[in-house]
Amino acid sequence: MLDLDDLTARLAALGEMLEFDDPDPAAATLERLIVGDVDNVVPLDRKRGRGRGRQMLLTAAAVFAVIVALGVLLPDARTAVARWFGLGGVEVKLNPDLRLDEPQTFELPGPGQSTAVVVDGQPILVSAIPARPNETLIDKSVQNASDVEAVRVNGHDGLWIGGGSHEVLYETLDGRTEVERMAANTLLWYDGEVLYRVEGFDELSDALAFAQEQGT
């Protein structure tokens, strides 16, 4: 029988000798946290906006402080952090100086842009990615997800990918394959050469209702 003190020393030595594929996950995590293309943040009250068609009433107007792409983009220095939320690797902070007296409208972001929306207190990220529909890449996206459902969104074929983190693959307009890792449930649909992505709803029915309200 081995001496137990010797055995614990050997276990400690084993720990020192372990080799990892990525020994610095902190760096990779930071990339996931700060890389994102959120161009706009709006707090949105679906209860008030529901049924008003494509243009939805916002409960607040003066928005937006957004953390994105390698830096903090604040409209001015007066905007302190009011509230943080994390979503799919994008971190967004809302301006505390929100004004509640000037209703505005929300529309789907233009190609290449993203908007973070607070729907009933829940952060939702809406992105419009210039991309060519590519069945092979859609299949691959489906294969690495555990909860997938084919849906129709405003007359377009779409996919609901749930069940936690997963990867979405798509083809850019110049033919490159991009892979994005999602941490939240995602509703996807193509409209021409734009891939719309709505992340953050817990339920497919809520995600579909939100997408139908926006229309494409």
């Binding site: 720990g15 594929d21 996950p25 971190e91």
Partner: protein
Amino acid sequence: MGDTRQAAFDDVTLLSRAVDGDLDAYGELMTRHQSAALRVAAVICGSTHDASDIVQDAFVELHSRLNTYRGTGTVRSWMLRVVANRAKNYVRGDARRRQRDDRDARLNIRVDDGTDELAERRLEHEQLAAALSRLPERDRQVLGCRFVVGLSEAETAETLGVPVGTVKSRAARALGRLATELAPTGTERGR
């Protein structure tokens, strides 16, 4: 203030800054504890290959709930508990398990070019890792966190979500089992 207490104090400060939106502070917090996090993930899921992804996902999750730290344990063990839970869920996920190649489901040992002595030591590490992998899951988790990662009994308890007394008794029993596994007769059984 001792080094350990100072480090714990610093962790709370970093966490507080991270809650206020300081991404650099969160980066520092992750960097401090990623080595332990990788090892916790590896000993629970049994794979150094999968550990990096598990830790990354856990760190992203932690960042979205930084304000949930209640101060009942150290910041480190609070972080490691999320990593441990991620690793446990990963192992339980049938879909993930099906995707895993056998060669990825093991603890990889660093290769040091050099003497026969280093090669022999590496072989010993591999035998130890193999013996560890043959232990029951709970034994492996406790031995891994306590000795491979080097956590205290309290931190091991917080990380695994079990009482300290359980850590003590289970670690003692598991060490005995591991010693049996490594004994010549145990090795020959080839379980």
